[in-house]
Point group: D3
Chain length 337, copies 6
């Protein structure tokens, strides 16, 4: 790979619509909107941190697709390889909860532009030419056969190129409607990856195991995963405690080099936006792995995730300096003049 640090992300871009002020749709004055999607969020957060990132996806060949491209460019993403197809871009309507009221999401994505991506027209070898990292999640292979095929081709190419491959293989049961078995597919694709972002629940889902959620369970599950998927060299997890939709606590833990590491817990007492906080963790982790050792990377990921709770929208708009300050314990919120 040489000295390059280009990162490639691949996944659906969705139009997120939500009423402001915790309103229900029936009482909304208008709808805020953001373009996002778990993999694009990771890519855009990394671009905001100053990294060189290309996002691969398919958008609609209409005014909505044009706006999605403009949004991605604004974050600094390289969109030169994005496809335009004749299907509407996927979207979701989000009613933002508060306190004990959960947020609710209604999706409209199953026959959208990304589900109709054309795998054969993506030149993965060229895409990965100068790349160091490839990031994927379990959403992509759950959307459609085409999306699965495109991802599998990407992983094969990325392996051939020797990239680090981060897998965030969350299983979403309300997807997977096109026919394939989610568990089998995810296991296959994790097998083609090198870094696992997830914990006991995700490993149990993929391997059909039943490890416990505590530290011992996490270590045992990580070992089992590395046995089943020997390409996987590191497991990074994050533990979230939700006191309410507005008040959350998180910390990170990892199994790296046969060693368990863990961060302090960070507390967010006024959540501005919970969407994309997991993606901020993944982006922080990739940034950290590019620039720091694994322990500092884990702390950077956890601080990035915590800060994302204070940012509206899907993408983490904070700087390396802001994350570093939180890592160092400066969370008192002094005004920066």
């Amino acid at each position: 790979m040489g000295t390059t640090q280009k990162i490639v992300t691949f996944g659906e871009v969705l139009l997120r619509l939500s009423p402001a002020e915790n309103r229900k749709l029936s009482q909304a004055k208008s709808l805020d909107f953001f373009f996002g999607g778990t993999e694009m969020n990771v890519g855009a957060s990394l671009a905001v941190l100053g990294e060189d990132v290309a996002h691969i996806t398919a958008v609609s060949d209409d005014i909505v697709g044009d706006a999605a491209l403009a949004s991605m460019r604004q974050y600094g993403l390289d969109v030169s390889a994005v496809q335009k197809v004749a299907h509407p871009i996927g979207q979701y309507l989000l009613e933002v909860g508060s306190g004990m009221r959960s947020s609710q999401i209604a999706y409209n994505r199953l026959n959208g532009s990304f589900a109709n991506i054309q795998p054969e027209t993506i030149n993965w070898d060229q895409t990965f030419e100068d790349a160091a990292f490839f990031h994927w999640t379990g959403i992509t292979p759950a959307i459609s056969e085409a999306a699965y095929q495109a991802l599998k081709a990407a992983l094969i190419s990325a392996n051939a190129k020797g990239l680090q491959i981060t897998a965030d293989p969350a299983y979403r049961s309300n997807l997977w409607q096109y026919g394939r078995n989610g568990q089998e597919v995810l296991k296959e694709l994790v097998g083609l990856s090198t870094i696992f972002i997830g914990g006991v629940n995700e490993i149990n889902e993929i391997l059909g195991t039943s490890f416990e959620l505590n530290q011992e369970g996490f270590i045992a599950a990580s070992k089992k995963l590395m046995t089943e998927c020997p390409n996987i060299k590191q497991v990074f997890d994050k533990i979230r405690t939700g006191l309410s939709a507005s008040w959350q606590k998180i910390y990170g833990r990892a199994w790296v080099d046969q060693t368990y590491i863990e961060t302090n817990e960070l507390e967010i007492t006024q959540v501005v936006d919970r969407i994309g906080t997991g993606d901020a963790y993944a982006a922080g982790l990739i940034y950290g792995l590019l620039h720091y050792d694994a322990e500092k990377a884990l702390n950077f990921a956890n601080a990035a995730c915590a800060l994302k709770h204070t940012i509206l929208g899907d993408v983490n708009l904070v700087s390396v300096a802001e994350i570093t300050e939180v890592m160092q314990g400066n969370t008192g919120g002094r005004i920066k003049r």
Copy 2:
């Protein structure tokens, strides 16, 4: 039918999204939204005028569908027979033009909740129990086989009940993707209707004729239509001249009782919203036919259509008094205190 005047409308309800202030999506601050759809617009406009109207449709079984129902209720529509299905509600993104810049629409409707309506569960005979009018448009049979089957069943039942049936059979070439031939279907369904809302273009499309757009052509086309579809007893048309997206002129003409009638032309120099102006014409016409003779009904329809250009959203929110004043030539906009 006795003395009752209940009206039934049937068709897709869409979530309309649009940036305010003539903005492009890429520069929008947020999205205004309205629930509408050509047939619902007709029904809601009639409900606002004080009529008793039921709208039949299928919405999504989620928070968006709930909001669609609330919106229909707000206009005064009876929604007790609306279906809830497990598909997302259709929608469109509208960039509102201005002056010489056209409005642009991106649709996302082809696999939505209305396309997946369940025809067999609609009890049309009960729906039409106290009804005087049934209104449909050419959009509905263009959406899906299920929508076509439901409409056809409605028309058969409405005929059996002796209702007046208004057909607004505009042909939209970018729909009709489910397999049937639009021209054949529309001709079949117009044959089951009694009042044709449309003009030379619509007749030419359905009959495959090539009448000219002038008065003679309109009369000849109307006569031909009545020959081919002998149920049709009246033809009501409206002629629009667009000086720009912001400046429009309209007048109505009709062929009724072997007589040609025509209204004055009304001019709208500052269009607030062009969407739903044709539906306001149809609603005004149905209101007029319920309360006035054909000529006054045509004038009422034309005035209603003109006034709709000054109302934001899909539905015509003006009163009978406001329409009547415009019919009488009072268009100077004095403040009503």
Copy 3:
């Protein structure tokens, strides 16, 4: 009453105006508005929960009254018996506090449309035809002689029909300007009711007693109330602790069947809107009494009240499923996809 469960509510509808973002009026960018009123809030919350509810009131015969009707219809209320009168609809201006800063309200209601309701034109017997519940509050008889007369007639009719009658008789000293003695009137009207929603303070106000606020005082006061007003069979109270305008705790308690029952305390750390939380409690209680036993009804009421603090506006827009989840202790705010 058979198997029907129709509910009737009666009371003033007010236009609520308030700046967003905790702004003072002098710095407001614009005013948010909602139509509400304690009894309408109860009715609308029940309609949102799926109940069949009619609200009886008088609105202004102008564009504001039209909008009030549209708003009530949107919630699903039956407004077919609402009067239109030639007086402006009442209103209030609300500056929303935060933290240690209290919200402030300026009313304009004393000579509005509801104060000028025409009691003689309400057909209560017909209104109560299929009804199971009638709900009133102490605001109504405090507005005007006409409002008092209409309410008294309602209670007499409701008693004759055998309805359950919920009384929420809070005494507001800055009303009661038309001449009658509030204490006497409230006692008379509670005497015509079957379920008392209130606690020690309300009982002391009505009976002129001085019971203490603790559990013993509540039980003693309830017993005394049932002695004085033997129609009353149940007393439901809620205890609120305000840490600040933004942070509140509530729990419910009741005296039912000679038994004291009490709920857990629920905590709201980020209040979105406190207006209408008491009405949400009353609506939850009525829903609960229709579907559950008294203890579960009390828990449902308390959870509904807590959730209302997370909803903007006067009406509780949450679903039975959301309330049930909070009753079961799931208050961590997980996203519902």
Copy 4:
């Protein structure tokens, strides 16, 4: 009067509420608001032009009254003599029309703070100490007996001080509900004034005459008015032609020193706000009479009125320079950098 030019205005301050974007209330996202009122608008417009103006009124003794005072101060009005009373401030809800759709207003003012002003506590002699002009309109004596008494006392004092007194005595038939005869009162009060702002319609209303609207009728009516009310020395009128709510034409005419004068007609093709345009005319006239001769004053008034159509809100926020430019025919709208 010496060299001072202080101006005193007297009249109700109303809270104006209106949906933006020509929306109907039932579809409004929020309500824009302004404090205004015909006489305050005149005073505030003069203050914006740099004059020293005191406005006398009564506002509510609550948060709304506080905001009204802040708004008046912002325009530069001296509010040191404003009363605070325990009645809500009057208000109106405005749905802004467009094109052929008229604006509609619903008032709520008949028992507000200004109607309950305390005439005996106003020290008019002190108020007029340094004043050159006093301005009143026909709205004030139509509100309540108290308002009438206060105005009459003001006129007697102003006459004693030798002020110029501008009367804008429009007759509003939906006011005058407190018992007095509008025609008689207005004639009495015009008799105590020196400058009449109005034309044939207003003179006919007051004198019970039936002059025609053309130039000859205007001159004859003016002469008759000066005969009946010999204090009146000048009559200033403006002629408005409404092509639609959005497109208006105006010109001024006057009968001064036995001479007829007339301005060019100015055309406003995109009305931003019609409310307060008559008040802008009156303010422009008073400014003109303070600084120019009658003909230039009339032209200044007409240009001020025309420019007000481009300003949102009740008050004319344009500068002397901007009015002067329009007077000079520069209406092409070049950007001022």
Copy 5:
């Protein structure tokens, strides 16, 4: 000084721009704006409390300067002595933080209208004619030589008139670019003042000492300050603990008459706006010193400061009644009807 209580404040007025909803500028829908500045905030907060306050500053001679004047008038400030100069008004862009994310400010003030104030044209003797208090801060002499000269002239005049002079001499290192030494200047100007608003950090900065932050250090520092600057008779400090940008605690302490006094700590769990909270403390203190003894004044200042955290914008819009209630421990946020 007699019985008058006029207060004079002097300092830069800035245009503050900030995205709503904690947004970053790159994702802002629009910018909220307020005119403020530390000394104007003190003056405006005092005017809102009912005091007679004149603010002296220089604004731009353009439409922005006009709006600044209107804003100051709205708060009730006397702006008759404000200069208009041909330089743009200073401004800052504020991204409002949340939780552990700090707010960030980008200034644009170093060559603005206040930096270009004309010291020689201010008539301080006339300005202080009826004044009891003059307030300044360490920002002013840090802006430019002209601002320093104007302030020094003011202090000399105020001393001659025997005013109380409150100094809030915070040292901002990123200002002071025009050449003078901040420490020396501040010491000189504090020497011309009578009341010091600040604590150990501020004293250490000015005197070059290194007292500790605890109570003993505060007392020792205050004594040292009074030795070095014998005009200073009282020192008022406030201690802030930031748990996060959204959660703050504050209490006041003072050294007055050789006595240490201290308030209770107040906690703000949901900060609406932190800008201007120190200015609210100073305003509360001046109000308190005018009306109460030093201990009550300190408590009033601390309560005013706490309440300001709940008010958007730079100026404290709360009333004496609201502050008094918080002083008395009523922080539960009951609705005021």
Copy 6:
């Protein structure tokens, strides 16, 4: 130049702030904002049309500069060579006029980041490596000596590379405060350019001539310009007639190859935004010259300019298809579905 078509633009990026709804700043609810500047507008409009464009400028090294970069990226501009300097980004406050009321602008740009650009650090030879066009305007050399030096260096390099150089040398008298003579500088820089965008006024300003505005004057002035500045091969002008701020007419004319060409006049009856319309003309012209002959290019430029009047913000967001349609006379504003 080969087949490449890269375009380079160079100039200041300003933060534009303006109240919505034609409001004055003193009554604005919030401020809309856009990043723009005449040369960046040209570049961004070309990027939106699909061209490969790099913009060279200097922005502030703070959160405002970051947002400026994000905005430029969103339009598709290559910003890799933008400088970050420690001065605030320039800005202007725009009050948008309407009808006969002119827009007003207050600038704050004279000591901003672009004025402090570092000419020596720009590698023009590298920047122009693959470029075909370089565009500059008369604003740049008017800002500061540094800006002038940077531009002159660019022109020398561009000439050496044989680029087409478009000059839009409008003279703004309120700039040019750093010492150089505007007329001399502009003549020098036009002498280094190949295409002149401007007409009689601009030529007269630069050459000190006094040609008349009619066709003959334009031809004579163009000939004179080509004599004085022999590098100039083409002159493209546009004639604007302002009926009001809201109603404008434009047509283009040119002197190319010793031939006079002229377009039809296009009329905009409802101007959405006039800012950037001249830049849209320049961008349309450059696009046209890259793809069409001079006459078609002129028509494309005129249509692009007309359409820009319907787009909010500084940049022309229309597509080649939309411009082409207007060129072909389709200005009726039909909805594009």
